[in-house]
């Protein structure tokens, strides 16, 4: 067979392989938010994480903004700590009063982290980013004396809500019944 035809067919073969890879990477794995993007890390302590898994999505109002990076037990307090890898563009945007809870999608679905963000004040965002805080600011926070910080890499989230565990719920329900 002449070599030009072979070259074309081999080219077609390699092209198909590359096309398959592209399809798998984009359409099947969605490399968009795969972790290839830059993230920053936050930690959150919970009393109980239920069946939350590493790589579970982190959502704000249903939109995925990151994934659970790691789950471990705090060596001094013996409570589970979840580290969250969140898209870099949200760094210094949320205040440290932001609430994070472990939720379940559907009745039998997988568990994920839901964040209800509190938007950080202008000045705390700037100081978090390392910019000089505008001197002439008459910030509301300052007036009321509330110390709110914007969340940056390595910070700890305090306001957390643990996973609902069915047995505990039933136990609570029975206890309340008994009390009445």
């Amino acid at each position: 067979m002449n070599s030009r035809k072979i070259e074309i067919l081999v080219g077609l073969f390699v092209f198909l392989g590359v096309a398959a890879f592209t399809m798998l990477a984009l359409k099947v794995a969605n490399a968009g938010i795969g972790g290839s993007k830059e993230t920053f890390e936050l930690n959150a302590k919970f009393d109980n994480i239920g069946s939350l898994k590493v790589r579970a999505p982190i959502k704000v109002g249903g939109v995925v903004i990151g994934r659970v990076e790691n789950i471990f037990v705090d060596p001094t307090l013996y409570v589970p700590v979840v580290s969250l890898a969140i898209d870099k563009q949200y760094e210094c945007k949320f205040a440290d009063t932001t609430n994070v809870s472990i939720l379940t999608s559907g009745i039998l679905g997988e568990q994920y982290l839901g964040i209800s963000p509190v938007i950080a004040s202008e000045s705390s965002q700037q100081s978090c980013l390392g910019q000089a805080v505008a001197q002439s600011s008459d910030d509301l926070d300052e007036l009321f004396g509330v110390e709110s910080k914007a969340l940056k890499h390595g910070d700890m989230l305090r306001d957390t809500k643990s996973a609902l565990v069915l047995e505990e719920l039933i136990g609570q329900f029975l206890f309340n019944q008994g009390g009445e």
Binding site: V10, V18, L24, A25, P57
Partner: protein, 259 residues
């Protein structure tokens, strides 16, 4: 009794010698391609023989395996009302296991046996000897291009297999059984990771490519140059490489996917 030990010892030594010869062949050919001007056309030709010629069987098998997976998965999942999870079920089983493994098995049967028979026949018809006498290293000229062609082809074939199979599953799951196409893809995307699933699958198929091509070429290169010897070598290629692939798959899965 002594005879038994003697035979056992001899067989063991023979096996070691075979491994030694196989390694020698691998090292002698792996980084010993002819210069690019001559080597590239040889490589392209082998890519055609090994890769492109296996394309049809890979694509057809992939399509059917994807369709069967979707059909079987659906009947189980629908009982739990979780038929939307068909996407990740199919994608994960294909990318992690079936893609690399089935491709390697088909490759061993389609291309591996052909390589063994071709090399064996070259040996039987003294073409390899005659190359040597013409001061051309057969490892360089014959083995190396085939080796690299196998090594390049198999991961590509595995990717094509998985992609076609997922399309086949889409055909059955979405078009016939009525799963929503949006949730098919989006739940799949949420569950499948590029590094963990696709790249690990690729690494698997690279390892399989190395093993299957190596076995096929070695069996041909080392066969007894008679028609009986070649047929035995061809059978051995398929049997040994299938077993090697399945065994290695277990080891690789244990290393890659156990937390």
């Amino acid at each position: 009794m002594m005879d038994l030990f003697q035979r056992l010892g001899r067989t063991t030594l023979d096996k070691f010698a075979a491994i030694g010869r196989a390694t020698q062949m691998l090292l002698g050919s792996l980084f010993n391609l002819p210069n690019p001007r001559k080597g590239f056309p040889l490589l392209v030709r082998q890519l055609y023989m090994v890769g492109h010629q296996s394309l049809l069987i890979i694509m057809v098998s992939g399509l059917f395996i994807g369709m069967v997976l979707a059909l079987q998965g659906y009947t189980v999942l629908v009982d739990y009302g979780a038929e939307d999870s068909l996407g990740p079920l199919v994608a994960l089983s294909l990318l992690r296991e079936l893609g690399p493994v089935v491709t390697a098995l088909l490759f061993a049967g389609r291309a591996g046996s052909a390589l063994t028979a071709e090399i064996g026949l070259m040996k039987a018809t003294e073409q390899l000897s005659s190359l040597e006498m013409m001061a051309v290293d057969p490892l360089k000229r014959i083995i190396a291009p085939r080796f690299w062609a196998g090594f390049i082809s198999m991961p590509l074939l595995a990717l094509i297999f998985s992609a076609v199979a997922i399309l086949g599953a889409h055909l059955v799951g979405v078009d016939w059984l009525g799963i929503d196409t949006g949730s098919f893809w989006s739940i799949m995307q949420a569950q499948v990771s590029l590094e963990k699933d696709i790249l690990n699958g690729l690494i698997k198929s690279l390892v399989f490519a190395l093993v299957v091509t190596w076995i096929a070429l070695y069996k041909g290169y080392d066969c007894i140059p008679t028609s009986e010897g070649i047929s035995k070598a061809t059978t051995e290629t398929v049997v040994h490489s299938s077993l090697a692939v399945l065994g290695l798959d277990f080891v690789l899965t244990a290393v890659m996917f156990s937390n």
